[in-house]
């Protein structure tokens, strides 16, 4: 019983914090996919750029994370508007296959760019001493960093929820997504709105990359490597559902942690079996009233 309890504590603590990291790198894609219907597989390239930028600012210029992370997020958000105007505009309304093809091409481009700019090594990144400290929660040692990430994730969720449900920007965005033509007719600048939404999504990705680097190390293959995990979260949360995606990410984190802790031999595929099962169930098992 004692052992079971301490195992459960471990799974809860580490699973949730892992899930929150997944949430921070996925939420941007949940947004852009849900709002703009663009399958942006290159989403994690923005996360990688954000991470690289923030860590480089800290390493090379001695800025604290409190300065370098917002700077990196802002820079990536602005950069993403340029990219959106140049490339992504052509994808609005295009077929999924075209979207996948182009965004995969963008991943290859970004991997090569990172390799060229920063080299093939994992980017050396150290935690600030305050975050590297270990504290005990009900007898379990856990790094401050994990708690910090969890708090950041919670704040993020709250802010997004506020923006979408309470601000005029959120209302206009929801209107544009539901019916772009109508929204335009009543004087909403849909083009500009989508640019802003895209920048928001990319900025969130950059935040995930910059905050999550101690669990997801920064390396050139980053945009490819964590894509399956992000897609699991995106697929399970449904279009643009922020609250669901937070739940799903934490769920994935906890299940993954539990499997690896309890059944390490089969841990590699449990999460994917779960994904297949849930997708099948959600498709067939919807209540008749919704169908």
């Amino acid at each position: 019983m004692q052992q079971f309890l301490s195992g459960a504590t471990f799974i809860a603590l580490y699973g949730i914090s892992y899930g929150v990291v997944l949430f921070t790198i996925s939420i941007g894609l949940v947004l852009t996919l849900g709002l703009m219907r663009v399958v942006n597989l290159a989403h994690l390239a923005f996360a990688a750029f954000g991470g690289y930028l923030a860590v480089s600012l800290t390493n090379d210029y001695g800025l604290s994370l409190g300065v370098s992370v917002p700077a990196a997020v802002l820079a990536v958000a602005i950069f993403s508007i340029v990219v959106e105007r140049l490339f992504y505009v052509h994808l609005y309304g295009a077929g999924e296959l075209n979207q996948v093809l182009m965004t995969i091409g963008l991943i290859f481009l970004s991997v090569a760019t990172i390799n060229m700019l920063f080299g093939p090594d994992v980017l050396p990144a150290r935690l600030a001493p305050a975050l590297a400290k270990t504290v005990e929660i009900s007898g379990y040692p856990i790094q401050m960093y994990r708690l910090f990430v969890t708090v950041v994730g919670a704040i993020l969720l709250f802010l997004l929820w506020m923006i979408f449900d309470w601000t005029s920007f959120g209302a206009r965005l929801r209107a544009a997504v539901d019916n772009a033509t109508m929204a335009q007719a009543i004087g909403i600048d849909v083009k500009r709105l989508f640019s802003m939404a895209f920048a928001l999504g990319s900025g969130l990705a950059a935040l995930g990359g910059a905050v999550g680097y101690a669990i997801l190390p920064l390396e050139p293959m980053y945009p490819f490597k964590y894509l399956p995990l992000v897609l699991v979260v995106v697929v399970l949360s449904g279009f643009g559902n922020i609250k669901a995606s937070a739940g799903v990410a934490v769920f994935v984190g906890v299940v993954d942690t539990a499997c690896r802790f309890l059944f390490p031999a089969s841990a590699a595929f449990v999460i994917y079996s779960l994904l297949i099962g849930l997708v099948l169930w959600r498709d067939r098992g919807r209540p008749a009233s919704v169908r």
Partner: protein, 393 residues
């Protein structure tokens, strides 16, 4: 028409004879098969800097022949591409010798080609035990996995660490580490508390670290391929505080040392190269590396040191061609069988019969010296026999 044809043939023949006559002055080409892009691109960088460091000291001539290096990128483990590249280099570029080979599958698939073209190939890193036996033209200048892991098991027992845990990445090299450690450790009377194979798609290693922590072993043998995966795993180990009071031993981690923080102090690793080795040859190697590349220089690692020693072997093969009209592959391989020399990794040798490497193994520990994390040698084992060689069995 027929006359034009005859003239053309004559011209071609003349060119051919001419080409043959001048071949003695032509440089000998060495094809380097490695990864310069993709997930393991760091290995190619280390290989290349090791090679060029050797050339910055010993020049680009071996004996009386100029040497030309041809670097080929196969972008990550890709047996089919490795085979194609070796074939292309041997047939079209007329490369006489080969070097490189980071991961084992590539060396395996190149074996049939180098046997056919009779091209001596020096394996810089691939550590799967059976590789050298795949071709009589293979020579390895890195240990196979058993040679690295067996000394760890012996050291553990010798220093009274009798209860062990094994955690390896779930792929062939990881399985080799697991088997080598388990076999030797149990034979010496040790006790295994648990063995885990960690899937390669693991992102958060905390659960595996938790399993190790709750078993409370004296020594933990770990192996995860270097790069991002190793960094994640080691971060998980250190943030759990496991390294403070328990011995955890991994395989060659120098490439990733810069990414570590103080929590990594007391992490052990075994390698055939120790940057701290206080020999003249090692000092020369480290200084030349720094002088040649300046700020771009990689840390001296087992990869760059092996490439450096690999060049020593390749140059000796070329020197053996003195006075020979055409490249004599058998003579080249014979010239390095039983060859012993002093390099950055200490006095090392190539076994006379098996063409396997006879390395020194260094068990090292990360310590903080002058404010910098460094690997310090805690145990040196010289001339480690290959457990697969007839003599060692």
């Amino acid at each position: 028409m027929t006359r034009a044809l005859r003239v053309a043939i004559a011209v071609c023949l003349a060119a051919l004879i001419n080409a043959h006559a001048s071949s003695a002055q032509e440089p000998i080409k060495i094809g380097i098969v490695a990864y310069f892009s993709g997930p393991f691109a760091v290995s190619g960088l280390h290989f290349r800097q090791g090679i060029e460091t050797y050339q910055s000291i010993h020049g680009t001539r071996a004996g009386d022949r100029a040497v030309e290096m041809i670097y080929r990128d196969i972008g990550g483990t890709n047996p089919a591409e490795a085979k194609r590249v070796v074939q292309d280099l041997a047939v079209r570029e007329k490369a006489a010798l080969f070097g490189g080979f980071y991961l084992s599958p590539d060396a395996f698939s190149a074996a049939s080609i180098v046997s056919e073209t009779k091209s001596p190939a020096v394996v810089f890193n691939s550590a799967a035990p059976p590789i050298v036996r795949q071709s009589p033209f293979f020579v390895r200048i890195a240990p196979n996995i058993w040679q690295e892991v067996v000394p760890v098991a012996e050291w553990a027992i010798k220093s009274g660490k009798k209860r062990a845990y094994i955690a390896v990445a779930d792929f062939s090299a990881g399985h080799d580490v697991q088997e080598a450690f388990r076999t030797r450790f149990l034979a010496l009377g040790g006790q295994l508390l648990g063995e885990d194979r960690m899937p390669l798609n693991t992102v958060d290693f905390a659960p595996f670290v938790e399993r190790i922590a709750s078993a409370k072993p004296d020594i933990t043998m770990v192996f995860v391929p270097s790069g991002a995966l190793q960094v994640s795993f080691l971060k998980a180990l250190s943030s759990r505080g496991i390294l403070k009071d328990r011995t955890v031993v991994g395989l060659g981690s120098e490439t990733d040392v810069p990414t570590f923080d103080d929590a990594m102090i007391n992490y052990h690793s075994v390698s055939h190269y120790a940057p701290a080795l206080p020999t003249e040859e090692n000092r020369k190697f480290k200084e030349a590396l720094k002088a040649k590349f300046g700020d771009r220089a990689v840390r001296p690692t087992f990869l760059s040191a092996a490439a450096y020693d690999g060049m020593q072997v390749l140059y000796r093969m070329i020197e053996s061609q003195k006075g020979k009209p055409a490249f004599d592959s058998a003579a080249a391989v014979d010239a390095v069988k039983g060859y012993s020399w002093e390099g950055p990794r200490g006095t090392v040798a190539i076994d006379k019969e098996t063409r396997e490497f006879v390395p020194n193994e260094y068990i090292q520990r990360i310590e903080k010296i002058d404010g910098q994390l460094q690997n310090v040698i805690v145990e040196s084992v010289t001339a480690v026999e290959n457990p697969w060689s007839p003599r060692a069995r």
